[in-house]
């Protein structure tokens, strides 16, 4: 199994020492990568109904344009020496006052460009898919405007050269996500889901703002170059705090424990949105943030450990929830959480994990987006039903969907030589090579997670495509149009071969090495082959168990009464109940109480007393206005005397 051997290379002394030179050639046009979809969003939103006819096509074309330009930049970078692949594009002086000086600038380097390619390629495919999926929606133009807005914001996020510019993209994707989750907000539940996503994300954003405040107070700057370059001169405590704050930000965006509760509800958005934003790209931004901040995390093992712990908890959390969900999209959402947990775990392992985290992020972007699109195609066939208990036996009816979904399924369960096998196995191996007790804990968690993943994904696959047909009466399944199936086919091919193309060839590790350097891990706790065999055995067990229960056996059309554990998993381990009980209700009570207090205590007792006092004073004064000219004259005289007296005193 030589393809899995950790490659040996010469380590760059210090990856953060790579300084960006001013961009030349195609790279200088990196701003255009962002500007194209941004222009599309602006045109479609401001243009109004005039753009109804050509708007969606224009948005799709602009997204592809972005991809082509991104690819050309990658070609240019590839032609340069490995250590010269980091270039900066300075745009304009954005915020400067006192010590703060932030330019709107872009950083074109192998890491950001890897993301650019993923975002624009998968994003453009999903634009194409949406042409079919949203064909009959009256608000199609607005949908494509938001999609373009999302792509632009996501590109700002990954191309930013400072934390502040990153934050623009960070909240920008949050906005796009909010708009798209609530796209069908005539349904009040969907509108609430959109709000929930934004507000939970804001908790993470709050942490990110404080992280930036801490950085400015510590380093006097917010750009990556300065912050990362001088990270070594800050104290351990400072770095740990910044690391933890960045992690909190990442938890919000990437739906990691304890800020995971919004992702399941986010499935209210149209399915292409779930594929693009809530599976392939936006939710991985947290992983990007940690990987980008490696210079900080490398120096603070405590914060890194926290990242790994969060990843480990979430990967199990998501996997457990995924086992019990009957809604196909919510099951996929739980799986997304879990897979991002793997990536978080990997970046939390430090230098040995960065490349594998990004690797898994890319392969996951393909196979998870593919499966979401497949789920959309199934819903298309089933009149927008999502309950898998009423699916079954669809493999013959929607053959292309079945095959392409199957490719994604094989990849996510880690079937040998598929894309997911390469990337996930590496994370599990890296986890076992973490020092001390961590190796055992993280390694076993990752291993266990792989087995559960195989079970719940197979459950999903068998319940949907195999077994007996449990359709409702009015259902007549039909395959989706080519605009939808072609993107699914492309992603399916990627799910199968991308790992083999990127990894054994050294393409990906060579590409990312200038950013992450090269790290040799500790000796693994178990021999490689033992880990690989265990992963394989667990996968077979998971698939087998799922086949027995959901392929061979009859699946009840209504979820049966179940044990406490199953009910807990169905209800996302009571996350919403917890939030309701300990956050929302006390919060609502506080708001109501304050409103009363503001009227009764502040207005009436504290300051209202003054205004009432003034009013009664006014009554006294009113009595002085008695209508007698002589008393007015007396008052005037007194006043003049007082003024003259004052003048006399002053002079």
């Amino acid at each position: 199994m030589s393809v899995l051997e950790t490659s040996v290379g010469v380590a760059l002394a210090d990856p953060s020492a790579v300084t960006a030179v001013e961009a030349t050639g195609t790279s200088a046009l990196a701003w255009l990568v962002i500007a194209l979809p941004l222009l599309g969003a602006a045109l479609l939103l401001v243009g109004g109904r005039v753009t109804d006819t050509f708007g969606p096509l224009l948005a799709t074309a602009l997204s592809w344009g972005s991809f082509v330009l991104g690819a050309l930049i990658v070609v240019q970078l590839y032609g340069r020496a490995a250590e010269d692949r980091s270039m900066s594009v300075q745009l304009w002086d954005w915020v400067s006052a006192g010590e703060l000086s932030v330019h709107a600038g872009l950083l074109v380097d192998p890491l950001s460009m890897a993301f650019v390619l993923l975002i624009t390629f998968v994003g453009s495919l999903i634009h194409v898919y949406s042409l079919g999926y949203m064909a009959n929606d009256p608000d199609k133009r607005r949908f494509f405007a938001y999609l373009n807005l999302f792509v632009a914001a996501m590109l700002i996020l990954v191309l930013a050269d400072s934390y502040l510019v990153l934050f623009v993209g960070w909240e920008g994707v949050g906005l796009a996500s909010y708009l798209l989750i609530g796209f069908w907000n005539h349904n009040p539940a969907y509108a609430s889901a959109a709000n929930k996503a934004f507000v939970v994300n804001r908790i993470g954003d709050f942490a990110l703002i404080i992280a930036m405040a801490y950085m400015l107070a510590t380093f006097g700057a917010l750009d990556f170059a300065t912050v990362h370059g001088s990270a070594g001169s800050a104290t351990q405590t400072t770095l740990t705090i910044i690391g933890l704050l960045l992690l909190a930000g990442a938890c919000g965006k990437s739906a990691q424990f304890p800020l995971q509760s919004w992702l399941g509800d986010a499935m209210a958005g149209p399915t292409p949105v779930s594929a693009l934003i809530h599976a392939a790209t936006m939710v991985t931004a947290g992983v990007y943030l940690v990987a980008r901040s490696q210079a900080i995390y490398d120096l603070t093992p405590d914060a890194r450990l926290a990242v790994a712990v969060v990843g480990a908890i979430t990967l199990l959390y998501g996997a457990i929830v995924g086992c019990a969900k009957d809604d196909i999209k919510k099951a996929l959402a739980a799986s997304t959480m879990s897979q991002i947990g793997y990536m978080m775990l990997a970046v939390g392992l430090g230098p040995i994990g960065y490349i594998y985290a990004i690797f898994h992020l890319i392969t996951h972007g393909f196979f998870k987006a593919g499966m979401f699109l497949g789920a959309g195609s199934v819903m298309h066939a089933m009149n927008d039903r999502v309950d898998m208990r009423r699916f079954g036996a669809l493999s013959r009816e929607v053959k292309i969907t079945w095959i392409t979904f199957g490719a994604g399924w094989l990849a996510i369960i880690g079937f040998p030589f598929t894309a997911g096998w390469f990337s996930k196995d590496h994370i599990i191996e890296s986890a076992f090579s973490a020092p001390g007790w961590q190796g055992w804990v993280f390694g076993l968690v990752a291993l266990l997670g792989a087995g559960i993943t195989a079970f719940y994904m197979s459950r999903l696959f068998f319940m949907t495509f195999h077994g007996k047909a449990r359709w409702e009466d009015d259902i007549h399944p039909h395959e989706s149009p080519l605009t939808m199936t072609i993107p699914m086919m492309v992603l399916a091919v990627g799910s199968l071969v991308l790992g083999a193309v990127l990894y054994p060839t050294g393409l990906l590790s060579g590409w990312l090495e200038p950013v992450f350097g090269h790290a040799e891990g500790h000796e693994s706790l178990l021999p490689l082959i033992a880990i690989q065999v265990s992963v394989f055995v667990l996968m077979v067990l998971g698939v087998g168990l799922a086949w027995l229960r959901y392929g061979r056996d009859e699946v009840p059309q209504v979820a049966p009464e179940a044990s406490f554990a199953t009910r807990a998993a169905r209800q996302d381990l009571f996350q919403d109940e917890f939030n309701e009980q300990f956050l929302r209700r006390p919060g609502a009570a506080l708001v109501v109480g304050l409103e009363t207090a503001d009227k009764d205590v502040v207005d009436n007792a504290m300051v209202g007393g003054t205004s009432r006092g003034l009013a009664s004073l006014a009554n006294v004064v009113r009595q002085a206005q008695n209508g007698f000219v002589r008393s007015y004259a007396l008052t005037m005289l007194a006043g003049i005397v007082a003024i003259l007296g004052a003048v006399w005193v002053i002079q």
Partner: protein, 509 residues
């Protein structure tokens, strides 16, 4: 050109416009056009003034000083620094927008009612220019009090059903603050050099009064400004006034007039009483943080949308005061920029809410729902304005709010972190409000004549949204105007920015 008494002309123009409106015969049919014309000429003139102004100079420019009542030491003295000029520009931009928004507020009914309405607005504009441009403390006081008159009548005569109570509360509160300030103004004169121009700001700066006297004088000014701003716990007049006022009046009241409070803290409290300012800082920071959180929490609970906007403003004023008293270049520049941004954001929120109210006839949020399907453009621009209110990056308020938070953090990390929770609460009050107004199934009980945004209303909203974007992506020209004045202020107070930990000594404190 530079010898021209620019500021006096600028001040006189809307005042004369108001006078002309009053002199017009009863039932004059073109009073709105006349008022709009005058306000637009004022705007153009203000832009000329801005061109005359030398950016990068933090001192007071375009000064004019005329002896007024030398027996009392009072001069008619005008002049602007970057902060004052930015406030004047904000005022003259918002007035024509408000006039267009208020076009149908008061119908021409053959009486003087409509004439009076727009004349009061023009007179208010003149007062606003005066209060920001005054460089004589007594003159400032005169404008500070005289401003109340047009607002009192705009609320009391043209407001909603509870207008009388709201106008009276507003007036009493403000007069109380004004009286306390008057005592402090006279006290300051006594402490100063006196003489025929003894109230001039330049003669009263750097007095080093010290001791209890300085603290008392500081409090005299500060209480008046805190009421005006308004800060917790002297904020209760604002929701009442904003609710009963017409949307345009509410914009000028909350968007501009209230800024006199924070402007006064910067110009008068900090510069005249540096020692007392530092003495009071801990208490002020506590009140500012309370204002941020308290205002936001109350905004979440509001059922009336005008009240809701008023409470968001109390929260935002908390940020502004926080930044002012954190006394770093970044935080104060952020605060002054926030004063500009908040003007545009609040204007958009009040005016768009006003458009909804004009259609539905109710301020009650629960009476709406599904309006994205009735008036998509109004709903959409309401969302954009709301996003500006919750400080979304790319829109105006973000830059200033962020600067306040990180600038405050440099010196008072705890206050900055507590204040920053306002970021989360803002998402709640804006999005819950928008959800109740715009989302959900289309309302059934509406008459089919409910129209989306009219052309006139588009002229109201477009410049505001443009301001969001320009100030969000390219705030540099405004920051360059503000920062030198902030630096000068900080020099008067005698504080320097804290150095970052690693650049100072390689370890953090």
């Amino acid at each position: 050109m530079s010898d021209m008494p620019w500021l006096t002309i600028l001040l006189a123009l809307p005042a004369l416009g108001a006078l002309a409106l009053v002199l017009m015969p009863r039932g004059f049919a073109r009073s709105r056009e006349l008022a709009l014309g005058v306000s637009l000429v004022t705007l153009v003139l203000a832009l000329f003034v801005a061109v005359e102004f030398i950016v990068g100079n933090g001192h007071i420019q375009l000064q004019e000083t005329y002896s007024w009542i030398p027996q009392f030491g009072v001069s008619f003295a005008l002049g602007v620094d970057g902060i004052a000029l930015s406030m004047i520009l904000l005022s003259v931009i918002l007035v024509p927008i408000c006039l267009v928004a208020a076009w149908d507020d008061v119908p021409a009914d053959g009486t003087r009612r409509q004439q009076g309405y727009v004349a009061w607005i023009l007179l208010l504009e003149a007062m606003m220019i005066g209060v920001f441009a005054a460089t004589d403390i007594f003159l400032f006081y005169v404008f500070f009090e005289a401003m109340l008159v047009p607002v009192y009548f705009l609320i009391g005569q043209y407001g909603g059903p509870e207008r009388a109570r709201a106008a009276t509360t507003f007036l009493l509160y403000s007069l109380l603050g004004g009286l306390i300030m008057l005592v402090a103004v006279i006290g300051l004169y006594v402490a100063g050099p006196g003489g025929g121009d003894g109230f001039l700001l330049e003669n009263l700066t750097g007095l080093e009064i010290g001791g209890v006297t300085e603290k008392l004088l500081f409090l005299g000014f500060f209480i008046a400004f805190a009421i005006k701003a308004p800060m917790f716990p002297v904020h209760t007049w604002l929701p009442q006034a904003a609710t009963e006022a017409r949307p345009s009046t509410a914009v000028l009241l909350v968007g501009v007039l209230d800024k006199v409070g924070t402007f006064g803290m910067l110009r008068y409290c900090l510069q005249l009483f540096p020692e007392a300012s530092q003495w009071a800082t801990p208490m002020v920071l506590v009140l500012a943080v309370i204002s941020i959180i308290y205002g936001a929490l109350l905004a979440i609970g509001q059922k009336d949308m005008m009240r809701l906007i008023a409470f968001t403003s109390i929260s935002h004023f908390g940020f502004i005061v926080l930044g002012i008293f954190a006394m770093t270049t970044i935080s104060q520049t952020g605060s002054t920029l926030y004063m500009v941004n908040h003007g545009f954001t609040t204007a958009a929120l009040f005016l768009i809410a006003g458009m909804l109210i004009a259609r539905r006839g109710s301020r009650n949020i629960a009476d709406y729902g599904g309006w994205q399907r009735v008036t998509p453009l109004i709903a959409g621009t309401l969302l954009v304005s709301g996003l500006s209110g919750l400080a979304l990056p790319g829109l105006n308020a973000f830059v200033s709010e962020f600067m306040v938070i990180i600038g405050t953090f440099q010196r008072y990390p705890a206050a900055a972190v507590l204040g920053a929770t306002g970021v989360i609460l803002a998402a709640l009050y804006i999005l819950l409000w928008y959800q109740k107004i715009a989302t959900g199934p289309a309302p059934e009980n509406l008459s089919s004549t409910t129209r989306d945004m009219t052309v006139r209303e588009k002229f109201v909203v477009a410049p505001l949204v443009a301001a969001f974007l320009v100030l969000g992506f390219y705030p540099k020209p405004v920051i360059e105007m503000l920062e030198p004045a902030v630096t000068t202020t900080l020099q008067h107070v005698g504080v320097t920015d804290p150095a970052s930990a690693t650049s100072a000594d390689g370890s953090e404190g």
